[in-house]
């Protein structure tokens, strides 16, 4: 009765990944928000306007590329027992520097994002990439991985922000929170605001929009026969 059926240990031969693969997988295949469902706090909190979401995306892009590069370049000197506190300090320091820069050069963005700039420190995506990728791979690959994952993150944030602001207010305001140097209201005169669902720019809208986008993606994957 004690016949233990040994499952054949599958030798997962690490496929030779080109740098392009490393970069590209983060954008769609391992998209932080829509596939892995990580880093939800900013995805829900700052996406009530397109610009806020886009700005947050850019900040995460800067931070993730930087932290991945730093973590990867010191990976051989840090004993693995203390690596997590070291990563936390590196990430927190770089976020603090970025926060000071945003305060100085884009004060409108800083007040729009509020506490969520500092909270990039505890964003699962940033920490996850440092631990899962940058601590094991070379500097160039890690930088590309960070940039790719962050680009995917920024894209998804912008998509959510676009739908929430457009459907919630009937227009898209540009140049108000980002220091673009001009101000432009996309579809400002179209009179669509009469038909806006104002619930979408309020907190419940964040959950609803992301939930529906996830459902659309799932149904697309199911129709293609992709197994999750």
């Amino acid at each position: 009765m004690t016949e233990v059926k040994k499952t054949p240990v599958k030798k997962t031969v690490e496929k030779e990944q080109t740098l392009w693969d490393v970069f590209a997988k983060g954008i769609l295949k391992e998209n932080g928000i829509f596939v892995m469902v990580l880093g939800m706090c900013p995805a829900l909190a700052v996406t009530s306007t397109f610009e806020g979401a886009f700005g947050m995306g850019i900040l995460v892009m800067i931070i993730l590329t930087l932290t991945n590069t730093t973590v990867s370049s010191i990976r051989n000197f840090v004993p693995s027992t203390v690596r997590i506190p070291v990563y936390v300090i590196i990430i927190a320091t770089e976020v603090t520097v970025l926060k000071m820069l945003v305060d100085a050069f884009a004060p409108a963005l800083a007040s729009e994002l509020g506490v969520f700039i500092a909270l990039i420190t505890v964003n699962c995506v940033v920490f996850g990439r440092a631990e899962a990728f940058a601590s094991k791979n070379g500097v160039v690959a890690s930088a590309l991985d960070g940039f790719g994952v962050a680009l995917g993150f920024a894209l998804s944030l912008s998509i959510v922000g676009f739908f929430r602001e457009f459907l919630g207010t009937g227009q898209i305001i540009l140049g108000k929170t980002l220091p673009l140097g001009f101000e432009y209201i996309f579809l400002g005169n179209a009179g669509l605001d009469k038909y806006a669902f104002s619930i979408l720019v309020q907190p419940p809208g964040a959950f609803l929009v992301i939930g529906l986008i996830l459902a659309i993606i799932t149904s697309y994957r199911q129709s293609k026969g992709v197994k999750k």
Binding site: M40, I89, K99, V115, A118, P203, A206, G211
Partner: protein, 190 residues
């Protein structure tokens, strides 16, 4: 009476999960089994409160006099990480059963943005120590309350005929959205 209003506001009206979107990773990640969720909720209440007990004086009596306010994020994340370790040790020493219940969830809390978020909000607003503690307690209670109710909803959803595309995460998000809508109705009570 003011403190009571603050407590209720932090717990229900401005709930950290549904209204301020803090701690969502653990909110969606853990909320599948009732037993683990209760443990997680308790651990979060303890850690948020203790973090407020330490970070508020740290900010006002160390960082502000030394004029190094800008390192608050780094200082707080260190405090929270060590606090989580310390809580783990203390609980292990005094209550084995509680340790078994909370064990795996304690380390996760260090990266729960609710804890850092509440600590940073507390020092960003001009308020007294007592108010900061009340806010922290209310936020922790609110987190535990929401994550427990949400888990109950998710457990029910598991046995319901949900459309195929909405199964799992999408329906969880939509139900959280409906919960948030219900909580918006509480906005008038304070």
């Amino acid at each position: 009476m003011n403190l009571l209003a603050l407590l209720i506001s932090a717990m229900l009206v401005n709930n950290i999960v549904l209204m301020q979107f803090l701690g969502l990773c653990s909110f969606f990640g853990v909320s599948t089994k009732m037993k683990s969720v209760v443990g997680m909720g308790l651990a979060v209440i303890v850690v948020i409160f203790l973090a407020a007990v330490i970070t508020y004086p740290l900010y006002h009596f160390v960082l502000v006099p030394l004029n190094i306010r800008y390192i608050d994020t780094i200082a707080f994340i260190l405090v929270i990480a060590s606090l989580v370790q310390l809580t783990e040790l203390v609980i292990k020493r005094f209550s084995q059963s509680l340790y078994k219940a909370l064990g795996v969830y304690l380390p996760l809390i260090a990266t729960n943005c609710a804890v850092l978020g509440v600590a940073l909000t507390n020092v960003a607003n001009p308020q007294s120590y007592l108010e900061a503690l009340t806010f922290a307690l209310g936020s922790g209670l609110g987190f535990a309350f929401i994550i427990i109710t949400f888990t109950a909803i998710r457990m029910r959803l598991d046995s319901q005929p949900v459309p195929k595309a909405l199964k799992g995460m999408p329906i969880a998000l939509v139900s959280a959205g409906l919960m948030a809508m219900a909580f918006m109705g509480l906005a008038g009570i304070i």
